[in-house]
C-alpha cells in the first residue's frame, strides 16, 4: 500500500498536497483499491467554495458510488481534465495522474492526518 510521506490525509481516504495558498486533492491508494475499477468521477463544484467535510463530488466504481469530501475549506479551481476520458487513472496513479481537484485554501489545515496517522487508521 502506497502512502507517500509528503502528503496529508483524511479519515475519509482523501489526500491533499498543500502548496502555499492552493492544494491538490485526490483519493488514496487504499481508497481506490477498496472501490475497485473507477468508471466515472462526477465533480460539478468548480468555482464554488466548499466547507471542510462537505461533498465536492462523487466517484463511481463498477459496483459502488462514493461521495468525495473536502479535506479543508476551499474554493474549487479546477477538475483534473484527464478523468473525464480516463477515470481509470485514479486506480493506476492515485497520487499522480489520478488527482481530482485543485483548490484555493480558505480555512485551517490543522485537522489533517500525517502519513503515519493515516497508515494507523487503515491498519497498514
Amino acid at each position: 500500500m502506497n502512502i507517500p510521506d509528503g502528503l496529508k490525509y483524511t479519515k475519509d481516504h482523501e489526500w491533499i498536497k498543500i502548496d502555499g495558498t492552493t492544494a491538490i486533492i485526490g483519493i488514496t491508494d487504499f481508497a481506490q483499491s477498496e472501490l475497485g475499477d473507477i468508471v466515472y468521477v462526477d465533480i460539478s463544484t468548480v468555482g464554488q467554495e466548499v466547507n471542510e467535510h462537505e461533498v465536492f463530488g462523487t466517484v463511481e466504481a463498477v459496483k459502488t458510488v462514493s461521495d468525495l469530501f473536502m479535506p479543508v475549506k476551499g474554493k474549487v479551481l479546477q477538475v483534473n481534465p484527464i478523468l473525464d476520458g480516463s477515470p481509470e487513472k485514479v486506480n493506476e496513479d492515485p497520487y499522480g495522474e489520478g488527482w481530482m481537484i485543485k483548490i484555493e485554501l480558505k480555512g485551517s489545515t490543522d485537522g489533517l492526518l500525517t502519513a503515519a496517522q493515516y497508515k494507523e487508521l487503515i491498519g497498514k
Partner: protein
C-alpha cells in the same frame, strides 16, 4: 448472523480474492479488477466459485407432484438430463425465490436455489410436501463452479469423456470429470458468455478446481469474483433475486411470464392467470443511459415531466459498452422498447432509453 465459509475459502484468499460477506457466506468479490475479470469471461474463460448456492434433492413417486405444486414453470415437460429455469410464487402475488429444476430421471430431481434463501425455500417447499416426497438439503456437501466464456467448453472437454458439445443449453450430463465420478456438467450459467456449471461433492472440490485451472492454463483461465458476475448478468438483463424480483413482485411484472405456465395449477396460479388477462400495471425493463451517468439500485425513474414512474432495481456501468445500464420497474405505458425515461441520479434527471435484453445485444 454467522458468516459461513465455502469449502475452498483458503484457495480464494491465496489467489488474492477480496472476501466479503454475501448472502451469509464469505465470498470472493474480485481477485484483480472487476472490468478485467468481466472481459476475461466475455472473451476467454473464467471460473466462479458459487458454492454458496443451495441444492435440494427431491425424490420418490411424489417428487414431480411437489415440484409442479410449488414452481411456476411446467416441470412435466422435462426429459432426463434437462434443466429448467423456474420460480416459487408465494400466495400474495410475489416470488419466494427463483431456481433451476434439474430432472435427473423419473422421481429424481435436483433444485438449485439462491444462497440467501436456502432456509426460506426449504421451509416453503416443505410446507407443501403433504404427500411425502423425499427431500434432502445437500447444500453443504456440494461445490458449484461456473466455468464461463467462449473458451470454456474446450478447456472442460480436456477433463471428461462426456461429449460436452453435444449437451444443449439447459441440458446436463452426469459423469466422470477430472477423475471424479458423479459430477454434474450443466450447460447453464449466469453470464450469457457460454460455458458450463460443474457440481461436485466438496471432498473432491479442490482437486476439481485445480484440474480446471491446469486445463485452462494455456488460454489464461482466471478466477472471477461476484463483482464481475453481477455486471455480466446485468448486461444480459438476467434478474437477481432480492434486487429485481422479490416477495412483492409478481413473475409477470418481473418479465418471467415465459416461465409462468398455466398448463397446471401451482401456488397462486389463479390470481396470476387473472393478472395476465388483465395486464400488469408495472413491468421490469432493461434500459441504457443516453446521458452520462450510472444508475444504481433504488434510484427513481421519472417521465419527461418529472413524474415518478418507477425505480431502478439494478444498475452499473457496462464494462463492454462503457455506458450506464440497468433494470428497473416502470409503469407499463413506459415499458415499450425505445421509450424515453429519466433516471434521478443524485438529484440530476438523466436521460435513458428502455432497451431490449440482452442489453449488449
Amino acid at each position: 448472523m454467522e458468516v459461513k465459509q465455502i469449502p475452498l475459502n483458503d484457495v480464494h484468499v491465496k489467489l488474492g480474492g477480496k472476501m466479503v460477506p454475501f448472502a451469509g457466506f464469505n465470498m470472493p468479490v474480485r481477485y484483480s479488477s472487476d472490468i478485467e475479470e468481466h472481459m476475461t469471461v466475455r472473451n476467454g474463460v473464467g471460473v466462479f466459485d458459487v458454492s454458496h448456492m443451495g441444492e435440494f434433492t427431491i425424490k420418490g413417486p411424489h417428487a414431480l407432484d411437489l415440484i409442479q405444486r410449488v414452481t411456476s414453470n411446467d416441470a412435466s415437460k422435462l426429459v432426463d438430463g434437462q434443466a429448467q429455469y423456474s420460480c416459487l410464487p408465494n400466495e400474495n402475488g410475489g416470488i419466494v425465490d427463483d431456481l433451476i429444476v434439474y430432472k435427473i430421471k423419473d422421481n429424481d430431481y435436483l433444485v438449485v436455489v439462491n444462497a440467501s434463501n436456502i432456509e426460506k425455500d426449504w421451509n416453503w417447499i416443505s410446507k407443501f410436501n403433504t404427500k411425502g416426497a423425499e427431500m434432502k438439503n445437500i447444500s453443504d456437501d456440494i461445490c458449484l463452479f461456473a466455468v464461463q466464456g467462449p473458451k470454456a467448453v474446450d478447456v472442460l472437454q480436456k477433463l471428461t469423456k462426456t461429449d460436452l458439445k453435444s449437451i444443449k443449453y439447459y441440458h446436463f450430463a452426469i459423469g466422470e470429470f477430472a477423475g471424479v465420478p458423479n459430477v454434474i456438467m450443466s450447460n447453464t450459467g449466469y453470464t450469457g458468455a457460454g460455458g458450463f456449471e460443474i457440481y461436485v461433492n466438496k471432498q473432491h472440490a479442490e482437486k476439481t478446481w485445480n484440474a480446471i485451472f491446469e486445463a485452462g492454463k494455456d488460454v489464461n483461465i482466471k478466477p472471477i469474483g461476484l463483482g464481475a458476475r453481477d455486471t455480466l448478468r446485468l448486461e444480459m438483463g438476467f434478474c437477481l433475486y432480492g434486487n429485481d424480483i422479490d416477495d412483492t413482485t409478481s413473475p409477470l411484472e418481473g418479465g418471467l411470464g415465459w416461465i409462468t405456465k398455466f398448463t397446471k395449477d401451482f401456488t397462486n396460479s389463479a390470481n396470476l392467470k387473472k393478472q395476465k388477462e388483465e395486464g400488469v400495471k408495472k413491468k421490469l425493463v432493461g434500459f441504457k443511459m443516453i446521458d452520462k451517468g450510472i444508475p444504481r439500485h433504488d434510484y427513481q425513474i421519472k417521465d419527461a415531466s418529472g413524474k415518478v414512474i418507477g425505480k431502478v432495481t439494478s444498475g452499473t456501468q457496462s464494462p463492454l459498452l462503457s455506458v450506464g445500464i440497468g433494470l428497473g420497474y416502470v409503469a407499463s405505458e413506459h415499458s415499450a422498447v425505445g421509450s424515453e425515461i429519466f433516471i434521478d441520479v443524485r438529484g440530476k434527471s438523466l436521460k435513458a432509453q428502455v432497451a431490449k435484453t440482452p442489453l449488449i445485444g
